[in-house]
């Protein structure tokens, strides 16, 4: 029983590790770069502000919203459900981006 439990934990960790992909989106020159990203479910997406002005990441329907990201600051989200995520910058709303989550 104990061995079975340990095996389950190990395999869960292994599967989690194997699927834990990470993607970085740079915010630079008032653009999300890349503006379109395709990821697998479970991927951690991190935005990094490289401009000298704050930006933010706001899902179009306000499902999630980052705090203001000053220069060099980061914000991460894990996307687990397949679908399209459209977002914009809460300071400069002409800046937009899209994440496509698909297995």
């Amino acid at each position: 029983m104990r061995l079975w439990f340990l095996a389950l934990v190990f395999s869960s960790l292994f599967v989690g590790f194997a699927m834990a992909e990470e993607v970085t989106i740079k915010i630079e020159n008032f653009t999300f770069n890349p503006a379109l990203v395709g990821v697998k479910p479970g991927t951690t997406v991190t935005w990094v502000n490289g401009d000298d002005i704050p930006h933010s990441v706001v899902e179009n329907n306000k499902v999630f919203k980052s705090p203001p990201l000053d220069s060099g600051e980061k914000f991460s989200m894990v996307f687990t459900i397949a679908g399209e995520v459209n977002y914009f910058c809460g300071f400069h709303n002409h800046m937009t981006g899209k994440i496509i989550v698909q297995p």
Partner: protein, 319 residues
């Protein structure tokens, strides 16, 4: 929008004299546009001097103080605001009041507002604020803004007041921004504006102030307001309308019919002229050039004249 005078004389009651005055302003606007950052033209100063003789009043505009900003474009934004306020406090004739057209702070932090308000208060005049997108970054800061500045305001901070025969309207075009759009006024605010203007006579000079330009300066950089046209329609019947904005951190001017649009310099940092850089944002210049690109505006209303006289003064000219 265009810079052409496409109004109908009969419908708007605009005189030939007014049209010629508009053309004069349009001409100076072109001059300023080409010389962004260079001290104000002598012609403009001459008009302001002449204005002193007549009955009326003068008010100041400051903008984009970005208290909390400390990046290379100006690591001491609080000091340049201090210089601007010091200049206003030392004016031989006290202005009637001051307008702040938004981005009071850089990140909406309470201490940034405290510092800004305490410093700006040293000018010793009433200050009428409208928010920039840096002042209401989320619901909590939007509420904090209203708690601090919104006693006389509606919605997200819009209001109007009257001063010696001139109607002033402060609008908010940085709230409820939509993905992929520009500045936004919204239906509720437009309905309020319609109602607010109903009691105002066509002959009353109107001054509208808001953070993001109410004309399409450069939509590629987000420098415009999506539903500004609906506000401008409501203002079309007035003989004299002056629109004052900030946000773009540089002087620009445009005349459209009876409406004159101005954008103000920042007291914190300059931004590039549209299309001359990959993106907007803080522009680093040589230290000895910085104060020539920051500044304040003085606007004078003379009773009986349809246009307001504006003088833009850079911080470099204070010394």
């Amino acid at each position: 929008m265009s810079a052409h005078h496409d109004y109908d004389d009969k419908k708007n009651g605009i005189t030939r004299r007014h049209a010629l005055e508009c053309m004069v302003w349009a001409g100076t606007g072109v001059l300023w546009g080409m010389r962004a950052g260079v001290p104000v033209s002598l012609g403009m100063l001459g008009q302001a001097e002449a204005a002193k003789a007549a009955a009326g009043f003068t008010f100041m505009q400051i903008s984009d103080s970005h208290i909390g900003f400390d990046k290379p474009a100006n690591p001491h934004a609080i000091d340049t605001l201090k210089e601007a306020v010091g200049h206003i406090a030392a004016l031989p004739q006290k202005p009637a009041f001051m307008l702040h057209t938004g981005d009071i702070t850089h990140l909406s932090k309470p201490e940034q507002f405290d510092n800004a308000v305490q410093l700006i208060g040293q000018a010793g005049v009433d200050v009428h604020y409208v928010p920039g997108e840096h002042d209401i970054v989320d619901e909590a800061t939007g509420k904090a803004y209203m708690d601090r500045f919104g006693q006389k305001a509606k919605g997200s901070g819009w209001y109007s007041f009257d001063q010696e025969g001139v109607h002033f309207v402060g609008l908010v075009n940085v709230a409820n921004l939509k993905a992929g759009g520009l500045g936004f006024l919204g239906a509720e605010q437009l309905a309020w504006l319609d109602d607010d203007l109903k009691a105002i006579k066509d002959s009353t000079p109107v001054v509208v102030f808001a953070h993001i330009p109410l004309w399409s300066v450069y939509p590629e950089w987000g420098w415009g307001t999506d539903d500004a046209a609906q506000a401008l329609i409501l203002l079309k019947r007035f003989g004299s309308v002056t629109v004052l904005n900030g946000h773009i951190h540089q002087l620009m001017q445009k005349v459209e019919g009876n409406i004159t649009f101005h954008t103000a310099r920042s007291t914190a940092f300059p931004q590039p002229v549209p299309g001359t850089a990959p993106a907007p944002g803080p522009m680093k210049v040589d230290d000895d050039k910085l104060r020539g690109l920051l500044g304040i505006a003085s606007i004078t209303y003379n009773q009986g004249e349809s246009t307001l006289a504006m003088t833009n003064t850079s911080l470099a000219e204070f010394k």
